[in-house]
Symmetry: C2
Subunit: 604 residues, 2 copies
């Protein structure tokens, strides 16, 4: 392809809002342009790399037997009402009305559409398992789209959905997907961190996130220095940094009420009592929405009322809990929501705290709290002589001992793990990284199949509900992440598999023998399948060199009179400092070996 025949509007300037390298470079290299906030158009150069990512994903999906289909991007709102997400998804769901007033959704994800399609086709266990995927446009009305295509409103996602008779079959496809994802990222030249993730609003259990390290990442990851443990902070656990006493010591003084006037925070209290936060039981009151967990046997005189949900299982629309944790630790609200199978958790209002504990905020504690259930983090179990709020203003209890003085309704892991905690697997030190999610695989279970009424007959002729898995990769974010990982000050350094062109031919002056050699070389490279950009522009060599570096083409071949006098051309690998002279007659052969060698290495 001649440079003059395509459209690569390279730029020196960058837009003011382009704060990360991929956004800057995609813009400067003429890969993308902005149509509106969060809406980007791919120009010819950008689309070439984009399509290569698409093709790699397609090949790896096909290789594990997933079947490509193409549902619509715009789907009936009815399907989202059936699943319950019409209400639950919030403002990120772009809704529209057709001319008859019917509700439509511009798909942000496609559980509903795939589930509806399979529902209509499924009759027998013999049809299962089934795995379908699409590579298609999605739209999410992000509050703050930014970082270019890294967080756009419209984007392309590969999303796959699998349907199974049981957990074993689901796990097999889940494992296949995990392997396929690792291959996809390897082929794209991406270093990913596979982490255990909480599946959050998507529901279900068993999920893995594929993260790339990023200074602007949405996620905090905890990684072990000694083993390959990696987890999202939302789900990370750690080895206990305490010992639970084998027997409860009998020498702890009885609980004693102490005055703590004008003491507001745990830090104040530490100073006031000359002790440290690890000796405190911090107690927080949470208001929790749509709790699925059965609370009928829970402690507390205020019994939440259960009401049948519009779709899905019955829930408690509102319930309150006291959450106790060691004073130096933070409650992980995702873990709390997960333990309660709840849609939302948030600290209760001051008024609710007062109503439920009889004291203003700051004086809650598990001892003598009767209105609502107490949930304790595991760290609390080890506390035998602790301080906690006394349910009255300016009063605390000292010498509080777990089990002796209070018994929580539920004890579970609720702590927020942080750098310096110990790896739950090997005990090594954990450290933190920021990461962006590139892909996510997870076991959905029957979250959609139940409310949407998907059924099949099993071998015994009994009606059954299939279990499902769900597997996504964002293509735009993958392209941007590759650039984040592979660039330098001069521009992009494409992995061979994704390079928009694998070779750039730069004639010093596109005329005479130089032109003839450049043309011949371009033709012979293209004949062996090497995508070649021939810079035929009437520009200074420096401009051409800079553009080739910016665009990130792996091999640059400079054709000039001086070297051509010795029948040589100059070959340089992008990202390497040195160029070398190669016989013009052998350049194609040599580049073929280099290009296909690198390609094979990545695709291996």
């Amino acid at each position: 392809m001649k440079f003059s025949r395509t459209f690569i509007p390279t730029l020196r300037e960058v837009p003011a809002d382009a704060v990360i390298a991929s956004h800057r470079l995609m813009f400067r290299a003429g890969m993308i342009r902005k149509l509106a906030n969060g809406l980007f158009a791919y120009l010819p150069l950008g689309l070439r790399s984009f399509r290569k990512v698409e093709q790699i994903i397609r090949e790896e999906m096909d290789a594990i037997g997933a079947l490509e289909i193409k549902p619509t991007v715009v789907v009936p709102g009815e399907l989202w009402k059936e699943s319950g997400r019409w209400d639950a998804y919030g403002d990120a769901l772009l809704r529209a009305k057709n001319r008859l007033g019917g509700d439509l959704v511009v798909s942000p994800t496609a559980e509903e559409a795939f589930t509806a399609l399979v529902r209509d086709e499924l009759s027998s266990y013999r049809q299962l398992p089934l795995t379908f995927y699409q590579i298609n446009t999605k739209y999410r009305d992000e509050i703050r789209p930014r970082y270019g295509v890294m967080r756009g409103r419209e984007f392309v996602m590969k999303d796959a959905y699998s349907f199974h008779t049981g957990d074993e079959s689901l796990d097999r496809v889940y494992q296949d997907m995990g392997r396929a994802y690792r291959r996809i990222f390897k082929r794209c030249g991406l270093t990913v961190i596979p982490v255990q993730a909480d599946s959050g609003a998507m529901g279900g259990s068993g999920s893995e996130d594929f993260m790339v390290e990023s200074e602007i990442g949405d996620n905090t990851l905890l990684l072990c220095r000694d083993c390959d443990y990696a987890a999202n902070v939302e789900k990370a656990s750690c080895k206990p940094d305490y010992e639970v006493p084998a027997s409860r010591a009998s020498d702890i003084p009885a609980v004693e009420k102490i005055a703590t006037p004008a003491v507001k925070t745990i830090e104040d209290l530490c100073v006031f009592l000359k002790t440290d936060a690890k000796r405190f039981i911090k107690t927080l009151i949470y208001r929790v929405v749509n709790v699925e967990l059965d609370l009928s046997g829970a402690d507390g005189t205020i019994k939440p009322e259960r009401s049948p949900a519009a779709s899905g299982p019955a829930v408690y629309p509102e319930a309150f809990f006291a959450v106790a944790i060691r004073g130096d630790l933070e409650v992980n609200e995702v873990k709390l929501a997960s333990a309660l199978k709840a849609a939302e958790v948030a600290l209760a209002s001051d008024a609710d705290v007062k109503r439920l504990t009889g004291a203003p905020v700051g004086f809650a504690g598990p001892v003598g709290l009767t209105a609502i259930p107490v949930i304790a983090d595991e760290s609390v179990v080890a506390l035998t002589d602790a301080v906690t709020g006394a349910l009255a203003q300016d009063l605390h209890y000292a010498h509080v001992s777990y089990a002796r003085d209070f018994t929580p309704w539920l004890v579970t892991d609720l702590r927020t793990v942080k750098a310096g905690d110990r790896c739950p697997r090997c005990g090594g030190g954990l450290y933190e990284k920021k990461g962006n999610e590139l892909g996510h695989i997870f076991k959905l279970g029957r979250k959609y199949a139940v409310p949407m009424g998907v059924h099949y007959l099993d071998e015994a002729g009994q009606t059954q509900i299939p279990t499902m898995g769900c597997y996504g990769i964002g293509l735009d974010r993958a392209v941007a992440s590759v650039i984040e990982e592979h660039h330098d000050d001069a521009g992009i350094i494409w992995p061979m598999t994704l390079a928009p062109y694998q070779a750039a031919i730069i004639p010093i002056k596109y005329a005479g023998a130089v032109k003839a050699t450049a043309d011949g070389l371009a033709a012979s490279l293209e004949a062996v399948g090497i995508e070649t950009l021939l810079d035929d522009r009437d520009e200074r060599p420096g401009v051409k060199f800079n553009d080739a570096d910016l665009i990130g083409i792996p091999y640059r071949v400079v054709v000039g009179d001086k070297n051509l006098a010795q029948a040589k051309v100059e070959v340089k690998r992008r990202g390497q400092a040195e160029s070398r002279l190669v016989d013009a007659a052998k350049a194609t052969e040599e580049l073929t070996g280099l290009v296909y060698g690198e390609m094979g290495e990545l695709n291996r």
Copy 2:
């Protein structure tokens, strides 16, 4: 591919609303399923053929130097307000609001997005011409979606837009596109009728429609029996079926007022006056909206007022015209709108007719009409002794002669051509066909560039506005049209280029030597690049044969014990009655020749 590993849910039944062959067969063959009215999902089989159409289009666009880009499907409403189509496009435009209340459009076409992108990049004439295309999702909120994917609400279109310094450059790309479209349809095995089309609401002049004949076609086409003339009725012209007298005869009696009591229609009048409709001047009063044509010099005492449009050129928001045409002919309103450069034309209300002509409907005529301009069809020029309304109830004029008794403000071609009229090119007889539009190429001119403010500097440093072309093909409709043209009672008969699989291997019973031969054959066919469907299902041979016929796979290879004893397999071309026995060992070689032979023929 093994049949059991993909998902091809063939059916005997068809949905009640599937009235055309392609809809029935795409549904029965398991190519598509309906998600909602006008919204269809492609299943794996359907997607394979769909992708082949996509690839053919992409190759032919690339071959003429068009550059693929990918704007978003959802675009800001602001762009549509700039072009004026936010209001003009009507209810087919799907609108949505983002979370901040901003207007969004789910693109039904993309003139705005492409024009906006080019506007931001264009500075110099040196960058032109530029031709960009996309193959992307579109949505039109059709009033009555039907015929399956032939007229769905969501669909995929290849749409290209070109930008030029002048008409010559535009015409060159326009011609290239015309040739590319012919190649695309040929490669798809489609017989298309290229017709001159009125460009309708898209504006501009110079346009060609690529139609396929269809019983349910939206368009009426007029074709010549003797030459290759073909035109949409909206734009068709014909040789005059009259002679304009060289000199005006002086022997025509003077105009005479005649009483025509209780005569309402031209037919009644013919009976009453014992003459025929060709001797009448029918005069219709039209109300016309948003007239761009300069009316300042037009006849008529009622002068329409010109007002600047919100965008684009100044227009007359409302104007009235009397349209005179020979009594046996019908006014072509598309021609009328085009002659007036108007957005809409419609017969005036009874009240307006009364107000403007002084008589009730049925008695208008050009003689003595002073309130509004008279526009005459060319047929009127030949009338020298005609009857027409006398602008008073129950009165007509006889002996009316063009020029002597009235002079229209404008004479132009306004007649609706019909079967039996004479070809404008060769004089041969015209006949009618119903057709569906598959593709459309047209010269947009500056319709978008002007209101959207696209500029460049020419060689002299002067600011200029580029002229544009616009070129679309509907992919879904192309797939359906191929099936309309290539099927029989048993199912689809795919052209080799679009077949989802080129060969089907049907083992009579998938076991033993038959299985081994079938597996071997599948592997060797796939090794030479022939896409093969191996029917490994435990079904009766009749079921497998029927499915292969329904799906329309070009070559069927039956492997059975009996023939295998002679080392033979049975090969049959879909659509042909006879099968033949082929040496099992030579089957791959033979099929390779057949498949690539047919492919080469179509792609030639």
